[in-house]
């Protein structure tokens, strides 16, 4: 009021309830727009709390509070993040298929808005290996393949040799494979895990314990299709 021609100086006076409702609607629209979502996601089958907590604890050790919420970045980290391009960190839980003890299929789903182009900065597969035998430790070799349309048409993404004593999480870098999937425009990442020496191991922990469900972490950055830089 009083500043004719100044478009940013406020809104016409509204009744208290109406103003509050309007502000909430603006907040909703603003958040959805910034997250590149047309509407709020419909969560039909929420991820079990144990699965969620395990993944977050692994990713942000020391930053997960008792109630499961995440301590957000410090001001300094926020400023650093602001300086970089806007990025995302995505955690996807696997749908597993393990008919064969030494060979398992893992499928990860990703949603992507049309026209958005992602650059994968880093992508890691997390798997839990648990020994069921009395042996003090067991030496195993695990290989992660990107599944092709045919059984023989698959690509080796990562290979690792390690000892399993009781149970432990193992990480497999698979950045290049996931980038190829996104570049093709696919919404699914299909992986095959082969494990030599895993006869007595419960691989992919989801067999018995939901908190050990395999997951994939991807740090991504949105690439503008037609970006113009001005100096």
């Amino acid at each position: 009021p009083g500043d004719a021609g100044c478009l940013t100086c406020g809104m016409p006076a509204l009744e208290k309830g109406t103003e509050e409702q309007l502000l909430i609607e603006i907040a909703k629209l603003q958040i959805l727009s910034k997250l590149h979502l047309k509407e709020r996601p419909n969560i039909t089958h929420p991820v079990p709390r144990a699965v969620l907590l395990t993944a977050l604890r692994k990713l942000h050790a020391g930053r997960v509070r008792q109630d499961g919420t995440l301590e957000l970045n410090s001001n300094l980290e926020r400023q650093n993040a602001r300086a970089k391009d806007q990025g995302y960190e995505i955690v996807s839980f696997a749908d597993t298929d393990h008919r064969d003890a030494a060979k398992s299929g893992l499928t990860f789903q990703f949603s992507k808005e049309r026209g958005m182009n992602f650059q994968i900065l880093q992508s890691t597969l997390w798997l839990y290996f648990k020994s069921s035998s009395e042996a003090p430790k067991e030496r195993v070799t695990a290989k992660v393949f990107l599944a092709g349309p045919h059984q023989s048409n698959r690509t080796l993404l990562s290979q690792k040799q390690f000892d399993v004593k009781w149970g432990s999480w193992q990480t497999f870098p698979i950045t290049r494979g996931v980038q190829n999937i996104f570049d093709r425009g696919d919404k699914q990442v299909k992986l095959v895990l082969e494990c030599e020496g895993c006869q007595d191991l419960a691989v992919l922990g989801s067999l018995g314990n939901a908190s050990h469900q395999p997951f994939l972490v991807a740090q991504v950055r949105v690439r503008e299709e037609h970006s113009i830089h001005k100096r």
């Binding site: 009021p1 009083g2 500043d3 004719a4 021609g5 100044c6 478009l7 940013t8 100086c9 406020g10 502000l23 909430i24 603006i26 907040a27 909703k28 603003q30 958040i31 910034k34 997250l35 979502l37 709020r40 996601p41 419909n42 969560i43 089958h45 929420p46 991820v47 969620l52 993944a55 977050l56 499961g68 919420t69 995440l70 957000l72 970045n73 001001n75 926020r78 993040a81 602001r82 806007q86 990025g87 995302y88 960190e89 995505i90 955690v91 996807s92 839980f93 990860f108 789903q109 990703f110 949603s111 919404k187």
Partner: protein, 114 residues
């Protein structure tokens, strides 16, 4: 930067908090619990003009010249955000994946007159 209360009509920061639980969004937004949707409102008198941080800038010098020469009638001063910070969010997307992102410039921290 002033915080708005009932006695202030000058440019100030109005604090508004939208709780995700209250609007039924807690099922897909894991963190934070809500959004500080602050905004700027109020009057900007001519002599208040000059946002913090630009006092010695080229823009301030031009503005002072305009005022000195009486051309200020064409210039209207606006109450606008002068400091903002990002909002860190952790949420489920449509594929039930967890996404963490920092949305820049989402929270108004200070207001001033242009």
């Amino acid at each position: 930067s002033l915080d708005c209360d009932t006695n202030i009509s000058l440019c100030c920061k109005k604090d508004i908090y939208v709780s995700f639980r209250d609007i039924g969004w807690q099922d897909w937004i894991i963190a934070p619990d809500g959004y500080h949707m602050n905004y700027c409102m109020g009057l900007c008198r001519e002599h208040f003009a000059g946002a913090p941080g630009i006092a010695a800038s080229f823009h301030a010098a031009v503005f002072n010249q305009l005022k000195a020469n009486g051309i200020h009638s064409a210039v209207s001063s606006c109450c606008v955000p002068t400091q903002r910070r990002p909002l860190s969010m952790l949420y489920f997307d449509a594929s039930h994946n967890i996404v963490k992102t920092d949305i820049p410039d989402m929270i108004v921290e200070a207001c001033g007159c242009t």
